[in-house]
Symmetry: D2
Subunit: 415 residues, 4 copies
């Protein structure tokens, strides 16, 4: 193989999304590692990939592998990131970067001294109209940011018979809805506004304190790697027929609402020319996450209100950006390269009216990462989410959890 | 005049809305009281009403007046309600019922012993699809209520040159956005769900701590009643030409987000058949108010998520009710008497596709009140917002203000 | 009665809408005529009107009646209009003005020599955003008009058990969907664009050639006026329980689509500065009517595309006007007097975000008519639909019917 | 290369879309042919494809090529299809299949006797919710089909300075908007309803009879293949800076509206159980195409109304299917495999709320084609658009053109 390529770790829902996106970009995918050598072979065949790795060590030793895509379960991210960086591979890790800020801080420190790209897959940033929102705010279209509100809500865990490894704190962490989807929302609005969350006040709730876990049938030979009851994946679970279940106590939250204060100082001070000296300023905000909201399949919404305009977006209609005006009609920008900010056009591949969607966001994220790698200057600013962002989200999660436990406002550490 | 009728107090934006609504119902409007005898005469002529009262005493003494509609500034509500009840007139008072819970409690106690109707104008309840939402929840369509979220946002106070008496705490009270529009949201979701707000955690913010108040021109003779700079009314202010202004410090909030816990016990226990014994249950919620949200003219949104469905409504498209489903396509109910719950049909006057709007909500509210009066049984349950509701909203406002001052969760008194 | 007022003829669905709209404007309604003296009394009581007329002659002889509102069945319009004009009463007639162009031409001629207002109730023109569309086109915002498309569709006659006098050619005329709703669409787009329909090519279809007519129960004494099976009114019919029916052959159309050419010369030549001399120009168009379109309750849509912009509107969301742009984001104008053309503001009574709807369109139509009457100059241009418009729509209906019969394009007479 | 693969002909807007879609499916793309050997090399490099063909003959002689994707200019399709079939390659041809029915009939006859797949890229069929609409109609959810209406409108040719080879009849054919986008609409609604267009009555219009063609700069050496002024591609043209132009007379239509009658007999007679014997039945329809409709970027809409329901879809919000109901609330189905017909699920790759778009429709179309090829039975029914469909659309185009020329209804040949 003349061109070095990428390798995939993990074969759940999101792994094939990575493979497709890389292929669309003409980026070769060298091989795959699953939870066992046998499963690696199955996955390589299913995804039509050249190589099936027996172990992570073998993968890292493959000289044709320049970049590793980690889509393994969350609890493996830390060690796999660490080893990849030590092996000087570029790492593109699914969120969350790791399970604790201790881990993410260590990874961040390691990344900062390793000559490799270390990215986290906050793909939603790369919906073209989310990039457009950011550019418009950078250009001052909204003036000072006053408040940022929204939600990320789903219904795939509505019933107590809905089960997935993510609902168990031991497997997925103490936070669930906040960690799984809330972090996407937090990353997105911070990246768009250039503001950082400074303090939080959270109200979380486990709506269903008991869920029904399917009791697996006696395993057929060769199914050794399947974690117990761990494989009911998203929409497929909705199609499951009834089978035997057992009650399991759940401590992770189904719902959360969180009040937010944003930093007074922003990376883009030019946005706040009118605020008086010494004013602490500071945008406010609020958002809700829920995985028990009937009818909302995967619905991230935000609205950002500023001194001279507002904008709103909904992931279920991602090709429309609402632009609120006080003094003239509101606008609805249909995703259309001809109407977008020049900096965003390279990330919108199709003309206006030709919808782009969820898989395209990965394509654009990876385009940003791999074009950066191609340019060869690892000191240049990184136009994609990095381990610093991955660390930041876990910092916020810990602050949110502390706020929930102590029933009060909690400051978020600056780093 | 053979038929006794209604009298109007106040001639701002909402007064004529009352008159129109009464006339549509064929309910005679006898006369009007403005802020001076001269203004009463002007108003009577403009509204084509038979009588112009010189004083409130004169109005209450008119034997043709059976009901008094109070649309005067908030600070007069208490005394005007009190006197009307003492005069055994029915009272229909614009919100807020009064300025403090001391006042509202006194009015509530007086109302409970007076043989008259005492209503507060939470008109939004009477959008037909809000009534429909309530009936569907009562009928168990949503199962247990899990969470209630939403917002009420406007943009008419976006600029520091937007000025209105309501922005001054001395004139309108310590709370503004919460009191003016947030109370509508709170009343609405409580009336629809049958749940009561149990505790609150608020984050309020005065985005514009200084506003520019117009300096009035030297008053022409006879303009004695015009409060200084107090008359820039809603949308008209947006059309104002520039004139001289002076800075005024503002303490009332432009923005607020509030976390909510609802009572575990509801008036409709049949809704919660599946909750285990002893479970405290309790829906959660969150809402945002803002008067500086560009592009949102008068936008109240709520979404109520339950164990077997969800529903959502937006006051800017009030003829649509979104019904969220987990297991089948979501529904959008276009307001259509043929498709609505039987109890709601009497409050929807036009066939499907013939939009009803803001003025119709007053018509239906007054229909509920006056038909109740006609039936003659003042002991019957009152199918409209009463002084108990008016008191409740001020109780919630005081809890919200306390939460803001003390930066913590605050319990709301049961009464 | 000091002030002269209006009288109502007819008590179907639309009669009370007229009464309400007049009352909202403070215009006294003097009395009502129904299909019999007894029914007139019932109607007067139900609508709380002072007088019940025994005959039309008695109504016209009432000196307190200045204006007559005709909401009687279509076949009575001609004679009732004629007599009212001969009695020098103002006439406000529901559409259609009469049954044939012979009749409408005679009425138009009579109206032109009678010193009275003669109006036809094309109320949809008076949705504020339809007025706004017209003003924007007059101001040149769309440039040359290229094409005008749309539809008016309903579902209240979807089933063969849906029955109403309108389905019978003998009672309602040879055309039904085109006459009942299509004429609204035609009037609306012509009034908005200032263009006239020049020729048509129609395709009409009676989807249900047989319908089931309810067999009335033996009439109780006093029900002498009820036409046989004629009273299943709109949405109420949807709630009917099953009863005995008989088959009736239907010849009126359930569906029609019509190709349109518009006049090259327009009343607003300033709109066409760029067209070369001698160019025949001429906008094109197309629209569909249907009364068997499931899920569309009363849905009129139009889209007007011009050389420098487009606009679209939907009667089911009447507070939004879509403004299409080539070179910048599209706009959605929420009905808001502060954002509308100055000429339209007097016809929008409520601030932005406070929805107006179907009943408000009648209020504004009658405001235009009665304010015109008040001004006292009957030579002034009439800012409302007149008998000329009423005649025009019947001219178009006859051309459409001819086109359908002859399966070809048909020119519409200029007058 | 172990696995035989596909080769691409043509490198305009749609060529790379094919390559991406094939790659997502893991289908190897072997090489590319552009308009010259030099351009083939450029394209192979840009698209990262292994081989650059010098000639079509060389491409067809490549034993690694099993399938040919034709995205060349329309006028080359006939000869390229013919040669590919003679070489026993599978052919996947962009629409239109050829320039005349003489050509398409010849290709159809050749395809029917050649053991290869011969497909035409009516990709819109493969939006999952279009497949869903078809399955629902097949399952009888809509009952008898009454009427089918809609439009396909764009704005990329709004200005007379918008130029593209497609506007010239000599290059693109006598029809333009109808052929380019109207055929997509016709194919789509026929494939969804199972009904065939029986006769048409068309009204076409060249809104801009003169356009401004850019005068090319003196060609640099090596640009020999660039047709004069022919390369202003879709949205890129909107970003062009001003340059010298010359007027060109245009005869192809910018706008068209077409009345439709559908066959009484359908491929799915089970859909019409209730129609009486001998009834000619026959759905009606109407649609509009325009390329001068400001604000509509690429907007295909259809609405299908039947005896027991209706459905509507809009390509600008392709993840929503509107389901109209008479007797209960309308539904909006968000694309969600868990809620879709089982036959459609294999063509929806992502869970509900994860939007799919334009590029995904090609992926699914090619999945249907290549999975069919893999199954190895070329006698099996073909679940994708074939040359029979490609021929059918040209038959309809010729009928439409004849109707336009003769200003009358024209029957469409059955074959």
């Amino acid at each position: 193989m003349a061109q070095k390529g990428s390798a995939l770790v993990g074969t759940g829902f999101i792994g094939p999304v990575h493979v497709e996106a890389l292929r669309r970009l003409g980026r070769p995918v060298v091989g795959v590692l699953a939870s066992s050598p046998a499963k690696s072979k199955q996955a390589a065949a299913a995804l039509q990939l050249p190589r099936a790795y027996a172990t992570y060590t073998e993968l890292l030793a493959d000289p044709d592998v320049a970049a590793v895509h980690l889509t393994s379960p969350n609890r493996f991210h830390f060690e796999q990131c660490r080893q990849a960086l030590l092996a000087r591979k570029h790492v593109i890790c699914e969120k969350p970067l790791a399970m604790t800020t201790q881990e993410t801080a260590e990874l961040l420190a390691l990344a900062e001294k390793t000559p490799a790209v270390a990215a986290v897959c906050y793909n939603i940033r790369f919906y073209p109209l989310c990039l457009e929102a950011r550019e418009r705010i950078r250009a001052g279209h909204l003036g000072d940011i006053y408040h940022v509100t929204g939600s990320y809500v789903q219904d795939w865990l509505l019933y107590d018979t809905d089960f997935n490894w993510r609902v168990l704190a031991a497997a997925g962490g103490a936070l669930r809805a906040v960690a799984d989807i809330g972090t996407h929302w937090l990353d997105l609005v911070q990246s768009i506004t250039g503001l950082g969350v400074q303090r939080v006040c959270a109200d979380l709730h486990t709506v269903l304190p008991t869920r029904r876990r399917p009791i697996p049938s006696p395993s057929p030979p060769g199914a050794e790697g399947a974690a117990r009851g761990a494989s009911l994946q998203t929409f497929q679970s909705k199609l499951q027929s009834t089978r035997d279940t057992e009650p399991v106590a759940i401590t992770t939250e189904d719902y959360g609402s969180i009040l937010l204060h944003f930093d007074a100082t922003t990376p883009h001070p030019s946005l706040s020319p009118k605020r008086p000296e010494g004013d602490r300023g500071g945008a406010r905000g609020c958002f809700t996450v829920s995985q028990v909201n009937a009818g909302r399949k995967n619905c991230l919404r935000f609205e950002i209100a500023g001194s001279s305009g507002a904008l709103a977006w909904n992931s279920e209609t991602p090709n429309e950006l609402w632009l609120g005006q006080r003094d003239r009609p509101n606008e609805v920008l249909l995703r259309d390269p001809a109407l977008m900010q020049p900096a965003v056009r390279p990330f919108a591949d199709f003309p206006g009216g030709h919808n782009e969607g969820f898989p395209d966001s990965f394509k654009q994220l990876f385009r940003a990462i791999y074009d950066y790698i191609d340019r060869g200057d690892l000191q240049a600013p990184r136009p994609f989410p990095t381990f610093a962002d991955g660390h930041r989200e876990v910092v916020l999660c810990e602050a949110i959890l502390k706020s929930q436990h102590e029933r009060r406002w909690v400051e978020t550490p600056r780093r």
